[in-house]
């Protein structure tokens, strides 16, 4: 329960910090931390406009997409405190409930019949397909390492002690940050700020959504970021008491948001054709973790 509350809190300011970081690095003052959230609330108060060419799928897709993210959030633990739902193999559930949401957002985009949205949908499908092995090799390695298959057990029994395991922790953090960027269609895979339909991935899929639905999709992104932030924070909040672990959690979210902002400020987006290659390198990095775990467990050599 505690993790759900904390993630919801983090989701309120996460995007604000990214935008603020980007503004400061480009020499502007930038909007307030809560501005993105205020925009979403404004959208929630509005009605939605539906194109006549769309069917009910387009109308239910945003809600299912959002619900899937919420479901995924429920399994995230906070240190040794399990999530609202916790069972063996819940990280598989986590990945596929997110995939279900993505599936609906993709068919929702296809439902509009726009050539742009089809293009965006195919790109998004490809990228999350490619990112999947990275996540599973990463979590699988940790499952192998700890001998447990649920998030909460994995994180409670992760002991960092040897140099290799520290290296693994850093690698895992990097991979999770990058997976979060891919899953949220942010730089360097996609540019959320662009106005050019032809270069968009996620933005072009939601061109037809408006009002409440759009608000849900946008808030979904915030929630997803905070969710991955919480996953990363779990590497650092072993079994400290609350007065230490909660500040650590918030600090990790804060630093994560700043890293995202920095990544988006000083890099250009990758060429679309190179994205697949880049995502594959994440998989090979997570293979490093896998081999590291094998080393620690003395399964090889």
């Amino acid at each position: 329960m505690i993790s759900l509350v904390l993630i919801l809190i983090a989701s309120l300011f996460f995007m604000g910090i990214i935008i603020r970081t980007k503004s400061i690095t480009s020499g502007r003052k930038g909007p307030g931390i809560f501005q993105p959230m205020k925009d979403i609330v404004r959208l929630w108060k509005k009605g939605a406009v539906y194109s006549e060419t769309t069917s009910f799928i387009f109308q239910i897709a945003p809600s299912i997409y959002f619900a899937s993210i919420l479901m995924a959030v429920l399994v995230i633990p906070f240190g040794s405190y399990g999530g609202v739902i916790s069972f063996n193999g819940d990280f598989v559930f986590f990945a596929y409930v997110l995939a279900l949401g993505k599936f609906f957002s993709i068919i929702g985009a296809l439902d509009t019949g726009s050539s742009f949205e089809g293009m965006g949908a195919s790109r998004e499908a490809l990228y999350s397909l490619l990112a999947e092995p990275a996540f599973f090799i990463l979590m699988g390695s940790f499952a192998l390492f700890t001998g447990h298959t649920s998030f909460v057990d994995i994180f409670t029994s992760l002991h960092f002690g040897t140099y290799i395991s520290y290296a693994l922790g850093i690698l895992a953090t990097f991979i999770l940050i990058m997976i979060a960027m891919i899953e949220n269609s942010r730089m360097p895979i996609d540019d959320p700020k662009t106005h050019l339909e032809l270069t968009m991935v996620h933005e072009v899929m939601i061109l037809d959504n408006s009002g409440f639905d759009l608000g849900l999709i946008l808030y979904g992104t915030h929630l997803k970021f905070a969710m991955y932030g919480a996953l990363i924070a779990n590497f650092f909040t072993d079994s400290f008491p609350f007065y230490i672990s909660i500040p650590i959690f918030l600090a990790v979210q804060f630093i994560f948001a700043i890293i995202v902002g920095m990544l988006e400020s000083f890099n250009a987006r990758f060429r679309m054709g190179n994205n697949a290659q880049f995502i594959f390198t994440l998989t090979s990095l997570s293979l490093l973790i896998f081999f590291g775990v094998l080393l620690i467990l003395k399964k090889i050599i």
Partner: protein
């Protein structure tokens, strides 16, 4: 003699242009273009009863000559086309076909150009534009526009794609035909015409206005004084600096490089703000006027401009270094949207787009006017023809223009006492004016009748040639690279549509 050779900004009696048979006219001009140093700067027709008098102007890059030839053809007869021999004529002939209904027997495809109000065939409308179509299950069409995502100007882009790969792009313009060329004839007062010239394309105010005033002054046999010429060249080079910098910002935006986007955007502002201080308009409107210098360049302005440039230059250098050394930026710019030298010559590219593929074509050096005659301008050339080359050209041209301005500022001539000259057009004359605007060669032509009234005014923006290059450059590129490729050319929609 099939043609008369004149220099830039020279006026000649219309009767001195040799009239030749269409067949000779065709052979003469197409064989001229077989030489690489020649390119067609303008080719247009004037209706006379049931005939059309065609004028073809071919400029030579090496000997400062512009060859003007002319032929009279019948409206109703079919004629062989120039485009069959040389694709650079393709658009000019489409325009002649659209305006007068001349049927070319072997033109590749006489598509509408800009849907002029007085076009021959009124049943051709923008809704039934004949797109190139393909019957295929595997390929798909993506249509973008006419409303641009960044709400700039209207233009429709139709892609034929194999997945993410572009096989073919067709660019359909003509959404905003204002009939500027006709307005030049209808508006009788000089100030109206001057203002019209300022509004041909909002990003080339100085370029188009300078072309207009040069043309007008040569038709009036008016010799502008040094202070007028100085103001014009400073304004033209400043416009180049401002737009190039803004384009670098736009290119950074399109590849989501936020740092470059915001810094170059900020750097453009002091330059256009200097125009505001100089003449009260950030785009330089009302600055360039025929036979007059309303806003002489004073020593006070000189101090201000030097201060602006001194602040601009170090920041610009630093940001360019940062941008053109960032691996992620280079990864997007290099080998994207390539135009080969060969293709560039076939299309008849002009201006910056020509120089990026190593075609030495720059009016400032090939047909210099005003202060450029003493500048000994050396065009900046790049060889790769990709987006990176177009970025680098901008970077170096900005530096070059700053140097030119600094040198010019060393010696500011005093404003001459205004001499009330009689700005009367010479009757029965033809004049041509070429200007190297920031985008490339701007060409204005005018013809007067026996009473000294304007009977034809012809404008050619560099975009007219170069749009074809955009369409060719994206072939086999990823569709997501189209925006950056398009921005790197930064062609004008209204300059094309007029």
């Amino acid at each position: 003699m099939s043609a008369i050779a004149i220099k830039n900004n020279q006026q000649i009696p219309v009767s001195s242009i040799p009239l030749v048979d269409y067949h000779d006219f065709l052979i003469f001009n197409t064989s001229l273009l077989k030489l690489e140093e020649n390119h067609c700067v303008n080719y247009f027709g004037i209706p006379k009863n049931n005939t059309i008098q065609l004028f073809c102007c071919v400029a030579n890059d090496n000997n400062q000559n512009i060859l003007i030839s002319s032929s009279i053809i019948d409206k109703d007869k079919p004629y062989p086309s120039f485009s069959e021999q040389h694709v650079a004529f393709e658009k000019f002939e489409r325009e002649i076909h659209e305006n007068f209904g001349i049927n070319y027997t072997n033109h590749p495809w006489l598509k509408p150009v800009r849907y002029a109000y007085d076009r021959q065939n009124k049943s051709n409308t923008i809704t039934n534009y004949p797109f190139f179509k393909i019957d295929s299950e595997e390929l798909h069409e993506v249509g973008v526009g006419p409303i641009h995502a960044g709400i700039i100007e209207p233009g429709h882009f139709r892609f034929l794609c194999n997945g993410e790969q572009i096989l073919h792009l067709e660019i359909q313009l003509g959404y905003q035909h204002r009939g500027i060329e006709k307005l030049f004839l209808n508006k009788k007062r000089l100030v109206e015409r001057n203002t019209l010239a300022e509004n041909i394309a909002g990003d080339s105010v100085i370029g188009h206005t300078t072309a207009f005033v040069n043309l007008w002054e040569s038709l009036c046999k008016f010799e502008p004084s040094d202070d007028i010429l100085l103001s014009r060249i400073i304004a033209l080079e400043l416009e180049r600096i401002a737009v190039h910098t803004g384009d670098l910002s736009g290119m950074c935006t399109d590849i989501a490089y936020q740092l470059g986007s915001s810094v170059f955007g900020r750097l453009r502002t002091p330059i256009i703000n200097f125009f505001q201080q100089w003449c009260g308009n950030r785009l330089g409107k009302s600055l360039v006027r025929v036979g007059n210098n309303n806003f002489p360049f004073t020593n006070e302005l000189r101090t201000k401009l030097i201060a602006v440039l001194d602040k601009f230059e170090p920041d610009f250098d630093e940001m360019c270094k940062e941008t053109f050394h960032a691996p992620t930026v280079l990864g997007r710019l290099e080998k994207t949207g390539i135009i080969t030298n060969q293709l560039g010559k076939e299309i008849g590219l002009v201006g910056m787009a020509a120089r990026m593929t190593n075609i030495n074509r720059d009016i400032r050096s090939s047909h210099p006017f005003g202060y450029y005659t003493s500048l000994a301008h050396q065009p900046i050339l790049k060889g790769h023809g990709d987006v990176q080359s177009r970025g680098q050209i901008r970077r170096e041209e900005v530096k070059q223009s700053i140097n030119y301005i600094r040198n010019l500022l060393n010696n500011i001539p005093l404003k001459q006492k205004e001499v009330t000259t009689n700005l009367q057009l010479t009757p029965s004359s033809f004049a041509i004016s070429l200007i190297e605007g920031w985008r490339g060669e701007i060409c204005h032509c005018a013809i007067t009748d026996e009473k000294g009234e304007l009977i034809h005014y012809k404008i050619k923006d560099p975009s007219f040639h170069n749009w074809l290059a955009v369409a060719m450059s994206v072939r086999n590129n990823e569709i997501s690279d189209f925006p950056i490729g398009n921005k790197s050319f930064d062609l004008s929609y209204c300059g094309h549509d007029l």
